[in-house]
Symmetry: C2
Subunit: 348 residues, 2 copies
């Protein structure tokens, strides 16, 4: 009959109101507090919404409320399965509260982290979960000053007086790896670290050292540190040469990698040289990402509760959003060693 789809001008709440023969305020009520509006008109409005297929404009809504209803998750590397599993946890919990999650990738670069923070501030995001590059929490603090509640996840540190945080005990993780390797008779261990200065790597290394010291082994003599440019498989592969070296008689019998990606790279590098774990070198990783259980031999690794990390972070954030006078919490998980085939007793 009539040109039902006037694609010309987008349909707004007013068009719906006109069609239903009510005022705009009533339509808004139908949308946001349906209990306040009588059965009859509610139905009329709903029909009008259907017929015009009206979809509400969040710009208007957010402008009015001063807040958007999505939260930001700033992640260090979308291609690393560790982070995507964390993201799952965050998403699932956020969904319970009807919050949308926008995933921002800082790619380990602080300029991109800054851009992400700016974006979230401009959108007046409801909140943010941030895994900071290099433990640089400045952007998180800035966000909070802008009124965007932010929770710190996994890296970096701020006092519980400034924000909630959830993390995993890297010291314990390093120590667990140490105990495992000692139990297998390894006393020459290389720690394959990421870029220099990464607080996370440093702590895991320290855990390793403390674990050794605990049983009377001198960490200085037993462990050697090799740094890589990035925490990915390629770097691990390239580092194999250097890991295996170390002077005559100084070849390590085990390597503890700061990261599963590195460890997977090492495994590959070994294979390319006709060597393999655990017979030529025991290999321990960190994180327990999905591929760790897929390679052969399986990667022995310090497992982090990835999904739970995400859930916990989002829960803390929700807590802060709902409870106006809320006191910051600090959740701390303890990692757990998963033994697979890449480690074995030292036969040398």
């Amino acid at each position: 009959m009539e040109p039902s789809e006037r694609a010309d001008r987008p349909v707004g709440i007013n068009d719906v109101a006109a069609r239903a023969g009510v005022s705009a305020g009533t339509v808004s009520n139908v949308l946001n507090r349906p209990e306040r509006v009588s059965e009859a008109t509610r139905r009329r409005v709903e029909r009008a919404i259907e017929e015009l297929d009206y979809v509400r404009n969040s710009s208007g809504r957010n402008l009015r409320s001063g807040r958007s209803d999505s939260i930001g998750l700033v992640v260090l590397d979308v291609t690393n399965p560790f982070f995507t599993e964390v993201a799952q946890g965050v998403e699932d919990v956020a969904a319970e509260d009807g919050l949308a999650v926008v995933l921002l990738n800082s790619a380990e670069r602080s300029d991109r982290q800054r851009r992400s923070a700016r974006l979230l501030a401009e959108q007046r995001a409801a909140g943010a979960v941030v895994m900071p590059v290099d433990g640089d929490t400045a952007d998180l603090l800035w966000l909070r000053k802008q009124g965007v509640s932010g929770v710190l996840l996994d890296r970096g540190d701020v006092g519980p007086e400034v924000a909630c945080s959830v993390s995993v005990d890297n010291l314990a993780g390093g120590a667990a790896a140490a105990r495992h390797l000692i139990g297998l008779g390894h006393e020459r261990i290389t720690f394959l670290s990421g870029p220099e200065g990464l607080e996370q790597c440093r702590t895991r290394l320290q855990g390793l050292r403390e674990g050794l010291a605990e049983v009377g082994i001198d960490p200085e003599a037993a462990v050697r540190v090799v740094h890589t440019a990035q925490l990915n498989a390629e770097s691990g592969e390239k580092a194999v040469e250097e890991v295996l070296a170390g002077g005559p008689g100084r070849r390590p019998t085990a390597v503890f990698c700061a990261n599963d990606q590195l460890a997977l790279g090492v495994l590959k590098g070994l294979g390319e040289r006709g060597l393999s774990a655990p017979s030529d070198l025991s290999v321990v990783g960190y994180d327990d990402v999905a591929p760790a259980s897929l390679v052969h031999p399986g990667l022995t690794t310090v497992a982090q509760p990835k999904y739970e990390l995400g859930c916990a972070a989002m829960r803390l954030l929700l807590g802060e959003l709902h409870d106006p006078d809320h006191t910051h919490e600090r959740v701390r998980y303890t990692p757990e060693l998963v033994v697979r085939g890449s480690t074995a007793v030292n036969r040398r």
Copy 2:
């Protein structure tokens, strides 16, 4: 001196204007068309912005312009490295134009895909790149009707008269796998598929069959199909039993998996049974995700240009956004077989 940080009310463009002694319009001009404003006042305004650390409110801006400046990327599974690599491509190209990318995860569920579409429509997103669940393009079409330009990526199909699309030739991919396996002397091949009815799997299978038929092998006799519940490693692992079975004398000498995740699962499952590729079974995957080159033996697989897919999709979208009367394009890539260690000549 004065309480410089009145966290009370958020600072808006008007506060900046007041501080700089100009009108709001001028501030807006400084932000958006700096060339129209005189050197002197521009500097004054910029100083005011600094001093108040004003950050602009995108709700207001978007409300006015009727469009937001972020685009949505709807992805089937954030934990699958295939999709995250695609996401990288999309992000990188979007960044060139200053567009933000919000990553939505449909987790292969059509209700979540619908929610994502709704969200993007409500935000009046500048555009969307969609990888549809089950090839269900209804949401994409709905988005377009709502005025959100959408590009179809990798799955599903719509005529080029309704939207741009980028895809990879699955038929050619299947055929490439076929040729490779035939060349190695395999004539009993199992195709390990995903859930029934996935158009993508079907086409790859058909490619396999056509490749066989090409050299005079009867596909009906040579290939057997096994379905799994999901396209992930766990399903692949569980399917090993069924793959290996198939009646006496009917044990396949090779398996072609619809997906690298499945293939990696199969490799693992083989290992658990004391078997291994390629001696007991040649294994071919599809996608060439990062772990495929990390396992030992390396996974022979049909490589898709993941990053390029993302780039291409975003380029098409940008084209559509910039050029008002634009004609839809259809970009099609051809996959390339990557031979690694998981396949070898058939010795039976």
